[in-house]
C-alpha cells in the first residue's frame, strides 16, 4: 500500500508542477490544488499506513491500546486541508479579478509589475 501511495504522491507532485508551468493562470490554480493534495498525501504516507483501530483510550486505562493508529498526522492533514481550502478560495477570486483587470489568462501578459 505504501508503494502505491508513494507513486501516487510522486505523480501528483509531477502533475502539479507541469500544470503550474502552463501559461494559463486557471491551470495555475489547478496545479496549486494538486500540490496541496500531494503534500497532504505525503504526510499520510510517510507516517505509516495502517488498518489499526481508533486511538481511543478505553475505560480504566491510562494509555491507548497497543497498535492503535497515530492521530497526529491526521490532525496535521485536517489542519492543512482547512488552510489550503481558505487560501485556494482566495486564489480563485484573485484569478478572476486579475482576468477582469488584465483581460487575458495568459501569465506572460502579466508584466506591469516588471517596470
Amino acid at each position: 500500500m505504501e508503494l502505491i501511495l508513494s507513486i501516487l504522491v510522486g505523480v501528483l507532485f509531477a502533475a502539479a508542477l507541469y500544470t503550474m508551468l502552463r501559461r494559463s493562470i486557471v491551470r495555475l490554480a489547478i496545479g496549486l490544488t494538486l500540490l496541496s493534495h500531494a503534500a497532504n498525501l505525503l504526510i499520510f504516507t510517510v507516517s505509516g499506513v495502517s488498518r489499526a483501530g481508533a486511538p481511543i483510550i478505553p475505560d480504566g486505562r491510562e494509555t491507548p491500546l497497543i497498535g492503535s493508529s497515530d492521530p497526529v498526522p491526521q490532525a496535521l492533514i485536517l489542519t492543512a486541508i482547512v488552510i489550503s481550502f481558505g487560501v485556494l478560495a482566495f486564489l480563485l477570486v484573485l484569478i478572476k479579478r486579475v482576468y477582469q483587470s488584465v483581460g487575458t489568462d495568459d501569465s506572460d501578459e502579466l508584466t506591469s509589475t516588471e517596470r
Binding site: 503550474m20 493562470i25 495555475l28 496549486l32 500540490l35 496541496s36 500531494a38 503534500a39 497532504n40 505525503l42 504526510i43 499520510f44 510517510v46 507516517s47 505509516g48 497526529v72 498526522p73 496535521l76 489542519t79 492543512a80 488552510i83 489550503s84 481558505g86 487560501v87 482566495f90 486564489l91 484573485l94 484569478i95 479579478r97 486579475v98 483587470s101 488584465v102 502579466l110 508584466t111 506591469s112 509589475t113 516588471e114 517596470r115
Partner: protein, 503 residues
C-alpha cells in the same frame, strides 16, 4: 510565564477582532489599531525583560506537556523580534492615519494589519514546527489581502506572483514537516533537536534540511528564490510595503536561523557551506539589482534582498560572534527598511512620483525629508557611525576569523554597490534640479492637511531617531545581539526550558 508569552499574540488578535466590530467607524478602528500595536510593543518589552533576567522562557499551551502539546518559547532573539514587530507595527499604524487613502482604510486595513502582527509574533514565539507553519499561513493570508487591498492592476498582478510562490513554499513546508514527523515522530523543535542528534540517517536529514532551506529561503528571498519580491513589494500602498519589507522576510531569516542552529547542526560543513554561498550571491545580486532601478520602491526592494544576504552570512559562518553580528544587522535593518519605505511615501507626496527621473530639487522644498532619507540609507550602506557599520564590521571580523575570505570580499563589494545605489537615488531625488512639470505636482503636496503631515512625519522621525541611536549608542543593543547569538550556539538552555531539566 504564560501571560508574558501569550500576550504579544493575543493582544493584537483581540484588537483585530474589536476593529472588525467597528467596521463602519474608521476613526475608532485607527485608535484600536494604535492600541493593539502599542500593546504588542509593551508586552514584547516585558517579555524581553523576562528573557534578559531568566534566560529562555517557555510555556505549554493548555498545560499539555512538551513534546505532546504546543510550546511557546522565547529566547533573546524571539523576544527582541517581538519588540521590533510591535515597534514597526505602531509606526506603520500611526503613519496610515494620514498616509493611506480613506477607501482602503475603510475596507478592513486595520484588522488585517493587526492579524499580520499577530501571525508574525506567533511565528517568532512558537516552539513547534507545525505550529510555525500555521503562523506562517496566518501571516500570509493577512498579507495576501493587504497586498490586493485597493485592487489596482499592478497590485493584482504582483499579488498573483506572491500568492503562487508562497503557496508552493507552503506545500514544500508541509511536505518537509510530514517527512520529519515520519522519521522522528515529533514536531516539537526542542525534542526534534535531540532526536535528530541521535538519528543515524544522514541522507534523510540532509534532504529535509535542504527542503526547509528552500522553504525559508523563499520566505526570506535569498539568491535564486527572490524573484517574487521585487515583482510584488512595490505594488501596494507604501504603508503595506513598509511593514512587509521590515518584517516578512525577517520571519524567513528567523526561521532559517532557528532551524540551522537548533535542528540541523550535524553536518555543518555541508549545510552551512551552502548557506555561505547563498549569502554571498544574495548580497551582490540584490545590490546590483538595486543600482539599476528607477523606481525608489523597487530599489529598496532589491536592498531588502541584499540585506538578507548579510544575515544569512552570519548564520553560515556559524560562530557566536558572527551570529551576534548578523542579529544586530537584522535588528537595525528591520527598522531601517520600514523607515525607508515610509520615506519613499513622503517623497511621493513631496515630489509627485516614485520614479527618480521624475523627481528632483526636493532638497530645496523639503530639507527635513532629505535628512530622513539619508540617515537610514547610509545605515544600509554601512557608513560610520551608523548601526549598519557596526553590524558589518562585526560580520567582516567574524568572516576573517573563520577564514572565509571570499564571502567577506563579496560583502564588502555589495556594501560599495549599495552605497552607490543609495547615493545615486539621494542625488537624483534631492540634489538635481527639478524636472519640467514638478512644480505643478508640488501643489498637491501643499493640499495635504496639517494633521496628515504630522501623522506621517512623526513616526518616520521617531524611527530615524532610533536608527541614529542604534549607531551612536550601539553598545547595549550589540551586547543583546551577542548574547542572543551565544544563546543560539548553546541550545541546552532552550532544551531545558522546553523539555524540563530532568530529561
Amino acid at each position: 510565564m504564560t501571560a508574558e508569552l501569550t500576550a504579544p499574540i493575543i493582544l493584537p488578535f483581540l484588537a483585530a477582532a474589536l476593529a472588525m466590530l467597528a467596521w463602519r467607524w474608521v476613526a475608532v478602528q485607527r485608535w484600536i489599531g494604535v492600541t493593539g500595536a502599542a500593546a504588542q510593543l509593551a508586552s514584547g518589552i516585558v517579555l524581553l525583560a523576562a528573557t534578559r533576567e531568566e534566560g529562555v522562557v517557555a510555556t505549554q499551551i493548555g498545560s499539555w506537556p512538551a513534546p505532546f502539546g504546543i510550546t511557546l518559547v522565547a529566547d533573546l532573539l524571539s523576544a527582541t523580534m517581538v519588540v521590533i514587530t510591535g515597534l514597526l507595527g505602531l509606526a506603520v499604524v500611526a503613519f496610515s492615519f494620514g498616509g493611506l487613502d480613506n477607501r482602503r482604510e475603510s475596507f478592513g486595513y486595520y484588522p488585517l494589519l493587526l492579524i499580520l502582527l499577530t501571525g508574525i509574533a506567533g511565528a517568532f514565539l512558537t516552539g513547534d514546527l507545525f505550529n510555525l507553519f500555521v503562523w506562517f499561513e496566518v501571516m500570509l493570508i493577512a498579507s495576501f489581502v493587504l497586498l490586493t487591498l485597493g485592487g489596482e492592476r499592478a497590485q493584482l498582478e504582483g499579488a498573483l506572483k506572491y500568492v503562487t510562490v508562497n503557496l508552493v513554499s507552503s506545500a514544500l513546508f508541509l511536505s518537509s514537516v510530514g517527512i520529519i514527523y515520519g522519521v522522528t515522530g515529533t514536531l516539537n523543535m526542542a525534542d526534534l533537536s535531540e532526536r535528530l542528534r541521535d538519528l543515524d540517517e544522514p541522507v534523510l536529514e540532509t534532504t529535509v534540511a535542504m527542503l526547509l532551506l528552500v522553504v525559508f529561503g523563499i520566505k526570506a528571498a535569498v539568491f535564486p528564490l527572490f524573484f517574487w519580491l521585487p515583482a510584488s513589494y512595490h505594488a501596494p500602498p507604501v504603508v503595506v510595503s513598509a511593514i512587509f519589507a521590515g518584517l516578512l522576510t525577517k520571519v524567513g531569516v528567523y526561521a532559517l536561523i532557528r532551524t540551522f542552529t537548533l535542528l540541523f547542526v550535524d553536518d555543518v560543513g555541508f549545510t552551512h557551506g551552502i548557506l555561505l554561498v547563498v549569502a554571498g550571491l544574495t548580497m551582490v545580486v540584490g545590490a546590483v539589482g538595486a543600482v539599476t532601478q528607477q523606481d525608489v520602491r523597487r530599489m529598496f526592494s532589491f536592498l531588502v534582498i541584499s540585506a538578507v544576504g548579510y544575515m544569512v552570512m552570519g548564520l553560515g559562518l556559524f560562530t557566536a560572534v558572527a551570529l551576534g553580528a548578523a542579529l544586530f544587522y537584522l535588528f537595525q535593518d528591520a527598522i531601517a527598511k520600514t523607515t525607508l519605505f515610509l520615506v519613499s511615501g513622503l517623497v511621493r507626496w513631496a515630489g509627485g512620483s516614485y520614479r527618480l527621473e521624475d523627481l528632483g530639487g526636493l532638497y530645496r522644498t523639503s530639507p527635513l525629508l532629505a535628512v530622513l532619507f539619508l540617515v537610514p540609507a547610509l545605515s544600509l550602506a554601512g557608513i560610520p557611525p551608523m548601526a549598519g557599520f557596526v553590524a558589518k564590521i562585526g560580520l567582516v571580523d567574524a568572516g576573517l576569523a573563520g577564514g572565509q575570505y571570499l564571502v567577506v570580499a563579496l560583502s564588502l563589494l555589495a556594501s560599495v554597490i549599495t552605497l552607490s545605489a543609495v547615493s545615486i537615488a539621494w542625488a537624483e531625488a534631492f540634489w538635481k534640479a527639478a524636472p519640467e512639470g514638478a512644480s505643478i505636482r508640488l501643489e498637491d503636496h501643499r493640499a495635504r492637511s496639517r494633521g496628515e503631515r504630522v501623522s506621517t512625519f512623526v513616526p518616520v522621525m521617531a524611527l530615524v531617531a532610533i536608527v541614529v541611536a542604534l549607531g551612536l549608542a550601539a553598545q547595549p543593543v550589540l551586547e543583546l545581539a551577542l548574547d542572543a547569538g551565544a544563546q543560539l550556539m548553546a541550545p541546552e538552555a532552550y532544551l531545558d526550558a522546553v523539555l524540563g531539566t530532568d530529561r
